[in-house]
């Protein structure tokens, strides 16, 4: 078999095909591959597939661009910035000097620490406790409770947890040996020892525990009242009949109202379903064409009402001028909750 025949029968591997498509091969290699491609249908098909893959990769990466148009600032402005900046080598020298200083300080601290641990080994906890007790006795520390409000007014409003029982004996402040020695010889202010308050984490946006006992607030649907003439307030059953299978619904929350706006030209209606969570907060799920949902959100005037991220719902297929247009629809959940909570609700919302 001649060398030419060997070249013709050897199939082109994938990496060589990619290099060929990227024009990264020498002229002679290109000629060799092209000769083979001319007679080998399998490699020719493979080349087409890899070319398509290459083009698709380029197209996908093209979507990851920060801006549609990237315009470089004038070159002269870079020159000006370069002159204004300290010279790189000078910067490097100053950094190196700082690093040497820092290293010196660290070595000194390390040596001191090592020396202390050698000449003054740590004592047993029992011995430290005895020293502390002796010191308290010697100082005749008067321990008395002082009102929390005088120490930390901002914490005074925080009530302790219901199961909190204050201890009869205050816990002495933990001291090091050094501080106890100083306290014996010098003047020391009266110790104020008090139990630390147990903080209850209460979100500022969530209702308080007391508000749970109050009757649930009326649903806040007034934000769309300006659309009353085109929006219809309907019952859940009626909405199911009209909207068919397009009603957003969060499981486990009672529905307190449904607003519905008929779609135009074959679109499904835009729907707002108001539900009430366990704390009485009203959650509104809005499902409809993108533009309408955004329009509604823009009209939301209350500053403490947030919206979840948009999630896609089944699209509309609208006939327009003899062609079918695909209209994207989204679902967003709004309410006086954190965005994270609303996102979580949007994830569990289902379309009925």
């Amino acid at each position: 078999m001649t060398e030419l025949n060997i070249r013709l029968t050897r199939h082109v591997p994938d990496d060589e095909l990619h290099a060929y498509l990227d024009q990264a091969l020498s002229r002679s290699q290109c000629v060799e591959i092209e000769t083979h491609l001319a007679v080998c249908a399998r490699c020719s098909d493979n080349r087409d597939a890899h070319a398509a893959m290459r083009d698709r990769t380029t197209a996908l990466l093209a979507t990851l661009t920060p801006r549609a148009l990237i315009i470089p600032p004038p070159y002269a402005s870079l020159e000006e910035r370069r002159i204004g900046l300290p010279h790189f080598s000078r910067l490097q020298r100053s950094l190196r000097r700082s690093a040497k200083w820092a290293a010196g300080i660290m070595v000194a601290i390390g040596a001191g620490w090592a020396g202390r641990s050698i000449f003054d080994p740590p004592r047993a906890p029992e011995a430290i406790a005895a020293t502390v007790a002796d010191t308290l006795e010697a100082d005749k520390v008067s321990i008395k409770a002082i009102p929390l409000a005088t120490v930390a007014p901002q914490l005074a409003t925080v009530s302790p947890a219901p199961d909190f029982v204050p201890s009869d004996r205050p816990v002495p402040e933990r001291r090091t040996r050094r501080s106890s020695v100083r306290s014996v010889t010098g003047q020391r202010p009266e110790a104020a020892i008090m139990p630390a308050p147990m903080l209850q984490l209460v979100s500022s946006v969530l209702p308080t525990r007391e508000s749970l006992d109050q009757p649930a607030p009326a649903p806040r649907l007034e934000t769309v009242s300006s659309f009353e003439r085109i929006w219809r307030r309907v019952s859940w059953e009626e909405a199911l009949k009209i909207a068919g299978s397009g009603l957003p619904f969060i499981e486990g929350m009672p529905v307190i109202g449904v607003l519905l706006q008929p779609g135009s030209g074959g679109e499904r209606p835009t729907v707002i379903v108001a539900q009430q969570d366990g704390t009485g907060e009203v959650i509104q799920s809005i499902e409809g064409p993108v533009a309408k949902v955004f329009d509604l959100l823009q009209r939301q005037s209350a500053p403490d009402v947030f919206a979840s991220a948009a999630s896609r719902t089944p699209p509309d297929y609208v006939e327009e001028h003899g062609v079918t247009r695909r209209g994207i629809r989204i679902l967003m959940v709004t309410g006086r909750l954190t965005v994270d909570s609303l996102n979580a609700l949007a994830k569990v919302a289902t379309i009925r």
Binding site: L61, E79, A291, S308, A310
Partner: protein
């Protein structure tokens, strides 16, 4: 117009894109790209194109480390929703573009560091020998790595698209 100025005009956008795909911050990517060219002015490298991308990769790595130190998440790839742009007449396109952005960047994140570097350098316009010099690969291995990276990117993208379609239906 000297060589570096010409390179600046022709490659500035490519360097910004390269940096953006590593740090996912458009403004910071532009700042760093200008920093790269300012350094090139001071150093006057022999092979400026390869040098510029090498410095850009180093700056992006430093930026990523700094961002981790600041406890900032670099990408919005996980479960975080991509913030939607201001609604306008083309709100449909905006949603689709944002969704596609998330899918492609998610697919890119599934690649290994080496595959991703090679792919981004190739997309930045570097030749095989320049990619090889920067990544430490043999020139012959660049084609293999690129073939694998392209295939994996497309497979990962198709997978996310399939998942998104299934979730919608």
């Amino acid at each position: 117009m000297d060589d570096l100025e010409r390179l600046y005009t022709t490659h500035y956008a490519a360097v910004v894109r390269f940096l953006y795909r590593k740090i996912w911050d458009a403004d910071r990517a532009e700042d760093l790209a200008q920093e790269v060219f300012i350094r090139a002015m001071a150093h006057r490298p022999e092979k400026p194109r390869a040098w510029i991308f090498a410095v850009a990769a180093n700056l992006a790595r430093d930026e990523a480390r700094a961002a981790i130190r600041r406890k900032k998440h670099l990408t919005l790839l996980k479960d975080d929703p991509v913030p939607l742009s201001t609604p306008d007449a083309s709100a449909d396109e905006t949603v689709e573009r944002d969704e596609r952005w998330a899918q492609v960047s998610g697919a890119l994140a599934t690649l290994t560091d080496r595959d991703r570097d090679v792919l981004l350098l190739w997309d930045g316009g570097l030749s095989y020998p320049e990619i090889a010099a920067q990544t430490g690969l043999a020139v012959g291995a660049v084609g293999t790595t690129l073939a694998r990276a392209r295939k994996r990117l497309i497979e990962a993208y198709d997978r996310t698209e399939y998942t998104a379609d299934a979730a919608r239906s």
